[in-house]
């Protein structure tokens, strides 16, 4: 992958996050602390600024800078989680998008210790990785992420702040799974 296409992806993700900021925050207001939209918007704004200020020479450096910026600027649990996603992608980006995203997903699993079905971003990211690994298109992966997000609605949260609510967390989409669906949608719109 080259830095240009990755930059296009990240720009589009930042745009989508900004557009859906209030929706993400409303979801987090139902089962969390009402900051996921603000967190990610702040984080992605900082990422774009950092990339602009000193454009990284290659894809790995670009993903590393993205991850390092997110772990610092997001503030919430999604900071170290999205940050780790990009940091691990940096180490596997030579193989292309699919293996990079899989490496990132493994990083998210290791960092957050969530399992599928815990009502987290894992439930959107995992299905997307599975589609890509099976040879599916990025558009198909984006659809899988959106389906994964929808499937979080009835789940009871077992990780993160939403888990404080117990049974009351059911009936709402997970904010992180929702933003992850946007991340894959941005990929479908910008990567071949």
């Amino acid at each position: 992958m080259n830095p240009e296409e990755l930059t296009a992806w990240l720009r589009r993700f930042a745009e989508l996050v900004h557009e859906h900021r209030d929706e993400l925050t409303a979801l987090d207001s139902a089962i969390g602390d009402a900051d996921h939209g603000a967190n990610l918007d702040r984080g992605m704004t900082a990422v774009l600024a950092a990339l602009q200020e000193a454009p990284p020479a290659d894809a790995a450096a670009l993903l590393k800078k993205t991850g390092a910026t997110l772990v610092s600027k997001v503030g919430g649990a999604s900071g170290p989680l999205y940050g780790t996603l990009f940091l691990r992608m940096a180490g596997a980006v030579d193989g292309g998008f699919a293996p990079a995203l899989r490496a990132g997903f493994d990083g998210v699993l290791a960092r957050g210790k969530a399992e599928p079905g815990d009502k987290t971003m894992v439930d959107a990211l995992g299905p997307a990785c599975d589609v890509l690994d099976a040879g599916g298109s990025v558009a198909e992966a984006a659809q899988a992420a959106a389906d994964g997000r929808d499937a979080t609605v009835p789940l009871v949260a077992r990780k993160g702040r939403a888990s404080y609510l117990g049974e009351r967390s059911a009936g709402h989409a997970d904010p992180g799974a929702t933003s992850t669906a946007l991340l894959l949608r941005a990929a479908a719109e910008t990567l071949r």
Partner: protein, 135 residues
């Protein structure tokens, strides 16, 4: 009516910040959370009469769960019980739960309408998320 929460700390700044952090988990929701913290002159200390007043203020009929920072805050809270009307005292639970970690869980389940026993139990398992993450 929900169970009320009382935060007893030697430090007013600590109690206020802990309540702010916990209230983040209640966007747009109501809950009686009262603070009794610090000495009258703004120093570090606890005041049994202030604890007693905070318990009465937080008690809307379903009782209260009281979280304290250190051992001497427990002494003040136990003393405060003596100055409460019998019915209020009987529905007051002093909790040994971790102040900050327990408070976050306690406000969430209290705002969800849980019983005093449930609120106290949630506070008591306040370290569980950190322990699970560090395992």
């Amino acid at each position: 009516m929900s169970v009320g929460i009382v935060v007893v700390s030697h430090s007013r700044a600590l109690a206020d910040a802990a309540v702010e952090l916990a209230r983040q988990m209640l966007p747009g929701r109501e809950l009686a959370v009262e603070v009794a913290a610090g000495t009258e002159d703004g120093g570090l200390g606890t005041d049994a009469m202030a604890v007693s007043a905070a318990i009465e203020a937080a008690d809307g009929g379903e009782g209260t769960v009281v979280l304290m920072d250190l051992g001497s805050a427990v002494l003040s809270a136990e003393t405060a019980l003596e100055f409460l009307p019998d019915d209020v005292r009987e529905r007051t639970t002093l909790s040994a739960a971790p102040l900050v970690e327990g408070l976050v869980g306690a406000v969430v389940v209290a705002a969800g309408g849980a019983s005093r026993e449930q609120v106290a139990a949630e506070a008591a398992r306040g370290l569980a998320p950190k322990e699970a993450q560090l395992r």
